[in-house]
């Protein structure tokens, strides 16, 4: 049950970094051969009769971790996640070839602490920052620290050989809060809460019958291009989503001196939280007594306190639909998107609509007319309709066009090649200030803070962000 080596390569398989953990681990060359021969669904590759390879691509780098065969699959996979998190913490995302090359010795030292006897050991950023000097990035951290703390941090991490700093180092193991860096000091005590929900929705195709009814009622006249902006509501006969799931993450960013004990109370309305997963610092007993209560001594800096899933949520602030067979030749499609009438948010950002089609059958999209935004075919089988910047609420837009069917397609039984239409529409966006599940922070307070000034009012606020990731409308 051991990790045999850690490799970082570029996406062409060229080795950038190597950290061997056994006498003769499989070489990057061997791993590249295994990767080349692998099929798409080989998440775990067998390199030899008793060696496995786990791998993940991130920021245009490949992380390769060969392991012995008895290794539980999720240990290296989770380890890669942690490693990436730590490297992001040290060197800022996104990682890149120069960043890796610039920091060999730091990465070596990190791995030397993160893996012990071929098994992940310390992966918390806080603990690692105590153990591994932060030469390059240190300057970035200094502004948040008072002068005294900066020099003491430096003495711990870089040159301090005094027994005092070491005993405090390893005492972190003895304390009840292994995830918290020792002797944390901040001049400005601050505490932020961020709650993010990633929304996934699948909306089924509207049956042709309903489309027909809709147009008979006169509600689906094409939106006139010029006056498309700010037409208030879009009356629709809309299909109900089949799936609408919000995956939530509650982050705390704490810059508090000493050992603060915090209580955060969340309300989830009447929603049922499925499978909440907690950071080790959260006291589970308190949550069980009163669901919604997060009681914890946080690690210094940012951490994810809670992850949860809520299904059956609303489909979010942006709606859309797809109609096909329009126009005089019945060969046009129309995609519409609209933002719903304002709740307590003013706009969404980074709105983007992907129009997915079968690239085997469609060679081009012609005659596209967008009432706003810009539409381009950006990759094989995907046209992207972008709305840069902010998109206000109570707004809508439409896109019409015709798919040009490939010439070399065989005609169907009736002697014609059937017209192609988009298969899916995928909408994505960011919406600040609201959570699609209606989750809210009820209260947040520092219950006790050893080493923290009593008068400090650290709670600076909460941010909500709904990230519409996969709003999929089937065609």
């Amino acid at each position: 049950m051991s990790i045999l080596a850690v490799y970082i390569t570029d996406i062409n398989g060229q080795q950038l970094f190597e950290y061997p953990l056994s006498d003769s681990p499989p070489t990057n060359k061997m791993l590249q051969v295994a990767l080349r021969d692998a099929s798409a669904d080989d998440i775990v590759l067998r390199v030899s009769s008793d060696e496995l390879l786990f791998h993940r691509r991130q920021d245009s780098l490949d992380f390769l971790i060969p392991c012995s065969s008895s290794m539980p699959a999720l240990v290296p996979l989770e380890f890669i996640s942690h490693l990436i998190k730590v490297l992001h913490d040290y060197f800022q995302p996104p990682l890149s070839r120069p960043k890796i090359e610039k920091n060999y010795s730091t990465i070596m030292m990190l791995l030397n602490e993160m893996i012990e006897d071929g098994y992940p050991f310390v992966t918390e950023e806080n603990a690692l920052r105590d153990l591994v000097p932060f030469t390059d990035g240190l300057s970035k951290y200094l502004p948040t620290l008072p002068k005294g703390a900066a020099s003491s941090l430096k003495s711990i991490t870089s040159s301090g050989l005094s027994s005092k700093s070491f005993s405090s180092d390893s005492s972190s193991m003895r304390s009840n809060v292994p995830w918290r860096r020792s002797n944390v000091k901040h001049n400005n005590n601050e505490l932020y809460v961020d709650i993010q929900e990633t929304l996934s929705v699948i909306i089924p195709a509207v049956s042709p019958m309903r489309q027909l009814l809709n147009s008979v009622n006169g509600t689906s006249n094409p939106v006139p291009t010029a006056s498309a902006f700010y037409t208030p509501a879009v009356p629709q006969v809309l299909a109900e989503p089949i799936v609408a799931i919000a995956h939530g993450s509650v982050f705390a960013t704490t810059k508090l001196s000493g050992v603060p004990d915090i209580q955060l109370i969340l309300s989830f309305g009447n929603r049922v939280l499925e499978g909440p997963a907690f950071h080790p610092c959260v006291r589970l007993a308190r949550w069980r007594e009163r669901p919604g209560t997060l009681s914890f001594v946080p690690p210094d800096g940012k951490c994810c306190l809670l992850q949860y899933t809520i299904s059956g949520v609303e489909s979010g602030p942006i709606g859309g639909d797809l109609k096909t067979g329009l126009g005089p030749m019945k060969d046009e499609f129309e995609v519409r998107v609209w933002s719903r009438v304002p709740r307590n948010v003013k706009f969404v950002e980074n709105l983007r609509v992907e129009v997915v089609f079968d690239s085997e059958r469609v060679q081009n999209v012609k005659g596209t007319r967008a009432s706003s935004g810009e539409f381009n075919i950006e990759q094989k089988g995907v046209g992207v309709w972008r709305f840069p910047g902010k998109t206000p609420m109570g707004w809508n837009a439409s896109l019409r066009g015709t798919m040009v069917v490939s010439e070399d397609l065989e005609a169907g039984p009736d002697g014609t090649v059937p017209q192609e239409f988009p298969k899916y529409i995928k909408i994505s966006y960011d919406c600040q200030g609201m959570l699609v599940s209606g989750t809210k922070v009820e209260s947040l307070r520092v219950v006790s803070g050893k080493g923290l000034d009593d008068r400090a009012k650290p709670y600076k606020g909460v941010k909500y962000l709904t990230h519409g990731k996969d709003i999929i409308i089937r065609g």
Partner: protein, 635 residues
């Protein structure tokens, strides 16, 4: 300061100068930089750096932790290559084992134990015994791992040293991290050892569960693995343990979650109260769903394990079926596994919803996935009697698209539906017959030929249809040839006048013009049967058109014994492949349930392994026989 510019070749001499002591180099800035360059070059396998061994060694004594760490990295890398030089480093390292800073003690200990040279091994034995009792926990945990590493390098040395007993002592340490390190070391040693085996009693197991919450996530995964070495002697004991473990299901680390599921599933074998077991297993559902928000690789492992758990406890995610609905942008490996889970979760109650969903998948762009979806619809018709009509309607709807690969896939599954429900749905044959032209894959052809042969008396022009297929007999694959042979014989039996000419032709081809022994044998067999029983057509009919064994999808599910073994390996590669460990890695240790008064008597641990479903090869093709593993819906 960038390491990137450190890669000039021929630098060793230059770097040596930079490493030289210099009073002006106050905070050792220059030497630090030089060492960084050396480490960077080392990482890129620039073996020129080895020339600097003595110079680097000189730096170890400098009063800087960062420098020490880099020197140690250097030593770990090069000592193995240069044992004679390495021995010179040993005294300095041993010296550091007595440093008053625990961090330095631990660092040097780790460094020595990473260098598996005989001199290093021997020099480490005595200090290790002492460091296992070090006042600082960080040193104690490093010492525990040190023993494991020493064991790997020189087992006999460790065995006669009494160090294992020292590690055993750590299991009652006051610090949870040290306890888990001790356990990890013992685990490591026993894993690699022939003679030693880890066994944990109730008291110890109970204590481990107690400290679990105070350990970091990786220690938790260790402890969870070790708990598999505990054999409950009493059902109540096992239940209590499982109850105490279940809060771990809410950990944010996916390997902790799956590790917990594995231990709880293991414990259920020793719990007699069925309601309690069901209650425990029910708790797996939500955490598994939450894992679906993780990166694809983790999702995949979670889904494969879902598949495994659902075979034993299909109800736990019954109400969550929608979370397994596929997004068009899921990678194919995720989609395929989700599809298998949807299949397992399908029941009379949700079948209409599922069919709508599968119908949707059948119009996706990805052909491979479309095929799997069509196949799943066919299998649902066989799995759920009450839903067969809906499934057939959906399939006919798909056949009407006239997309070649959809029609072929549908033909294959409809043939199986006919076999499962004889004389019920044959009215749809005519629809299939309209699409013969689109069949170009052997499996689909063979299926259609089987249908024509089996229902030769009901299909008006069955002889013509077969004749058309026979036109290319010699170019067909063996599975199609066998199907044609059998179908023609069936035609002859049911409609002797129409089939006479064809059957003679096919028998002649099969016996005289082929190199394939299977085809020839079957040809001769039919020939003999037809000629010797010529006076008694009934006998021939009984043989050729006999009742077929019922088919079911049960043959696809894993047998109880395999399932049991796999469930003991939740989270491992074998749970991903759904194959027993022994089939994946030759000679690996097979886990099994230890006997104890509390062990539940189940079919699997009493009886011999269930033999995999066996179906005689009627049409020459056996679509449903899958070996005891692999994809449930593989094609």
């Amino acid at each position: 300061m960038s390491d990137a510019k450190f890669f000039a070749k021929g630098k060793a001499a230059e770097l040596r100068l930079e490493l030289m002591s210099d009073k002006k180099d106050k905070n050792y800035t220059r030497r630090k930089t030089a060492l960084k360059k050396i480490v960077a070059n080392m990482t890129m396998n620039n073996n020129e750096m080895i020339q600097l061994f003595p110079d680097v060694l000189d730096c170890i004594k400098l009063d800087s932790l960062e420098i020490k760490k880099m020197c140690f990295l250097y030593l770990i890398n090069y000592c193995r290559l240069k044992p004679e030089l390495a021995n010179k480093a040993l005294p300095a390292l041993l010296d550091d084992l007595r440093d008053r800073s625990p961090l330095i003690r631990a660092l040097s200990l780790r460094t020595i134990s990473c260098i598996p040279l005989p001199a290093f091994n021997e020099a480490l034995v005595d200090p290790l015994g002492r460091l296992l009792r070090d006042p600082d926990p960080y040193v104690r945990k490093t010492a525990a791992f040190g023993v494991a590493k020493l064991w790997a390098s020189d087992g006999p040395l460790v065995e006669k040293s009494g160090l294992i007993q020292g590690v055993n002592q750590l299991l009652v340490d006051s610090n949870p991290t040290v306890v888990s390190a001790g356990l990890a070391a013992l685990n490591d040693v026993t894993d690699k050892s022939e003679g030693m085996k880890l066994a944990i009693g109730y008291q110890d197991a109970s204590k481990l569960v107690q400290i679990l919450a105070d350990c970091n996530e990786w220690s938790q995964t260790y402890i969870l693995s070790s708990l598999m070495a505990y054999t409950p002697q009493d059902p109540a004991e096992a239940l209590l343990m499982a109850e105490r473990l279940s809060p771990r299901l809410q950990h944010s680390n996916a390997s902790v979650v799956l590790g917990t599921i594995r231990v709880i599933l293991y414990l259920t074998h020793y719990i007699s109260d069925d309601t309690a077991v069901q209650g425990l297993v029910k708790r797996f559902g939500p955490p598994l769903v939450t894992l679906l928000s993780k990166p694809h690789e983790i999702q995949y492992v979670a889904l494969r394990n879902c598949l495994l758990i659902l075979q034993q406890y299909p109800h736990i995610l019954q109400n969550d079926i929608k979370v397994f609905f596929c997004k068009y942008n899921d990678p194919i490996y995720i989609k395929a596994t989700k599809l298998e889970i949807i299949f397992l979760l399908a029941s009379e109650d949700n079948i209409k919803e599922i069919l709508r969903e599968l119908r949707e998948y059948a119009s996706e762009i990805d052909v491979q996935f479309v095929r799997k979806a069509v196949r799943a619809i066919g299998k649902l018709a066989i799995k759920i009697d009450a839903a067969t009509r809906y499934c057939i309607d959906t399939l006919l709807d798909l056949v009407a698209t006239r997309v070649s690969y959809i029609v072929q896939e549908a033909t294959v599954v409809i043939k199986n539906i006919f076999r499962k429900y004889p004389n019920k749905y044959e009215s749809i044959i005519s629809v299939l017959c309209k699409n013969l032209d689109s069949l170009d894959e052997p499996e689909a052809k063979a299926a259609m030929i089987w249908i024509i042969g089996e229902y030769a008396d009901r299909i008006e022009n069955s002889d013509q249809l077969l004749d058309e297929f026979l036109f290319t007999f010699k170019e067909e694959t063996i599975e199609v040839q066998l199907a044609l042979l059998t179908a023609t014989v069936k035609l002859f039996i049911q409609r002797p006048t129409k089939g006479q000419e064809l059957v003679l032709q096919v028998l002649k081809w099969s016996t005289e013009d082929t190199d394939n022994p299977d085809l020839r044998d079957r040809g001769y067999m039919y020939w003999r049967l037809l000629s010797s029983a010529s006076g008694n057509a009934d006998i021939t009919r009984q043989v050729v058109m006999s009742d077929k064994p019922t088919i079911s999808v049960e043959s696809d599910t894993l047998d109880a014994r395999t399932l049991e073994e796999l469930s003991l390996n939740i989270g491992s590669l074998s749970s991903v492949y759904l194959k027993p460990v022994s089939q994946i890695f030759k000679g690996s240790k097979v886990r099994h349930l230890e006997q104890s008064p509390a062990l539940r008597r189940t079919d699997s641990n009493l009886e011999s392994p269930v033999s995999p479903g066996y179906y005689p090869n009627y049409a020459g093709v056996n679509y449903f026989a899958t070996s005891g593993g692999g994809d449930l819906l593989s094609d």
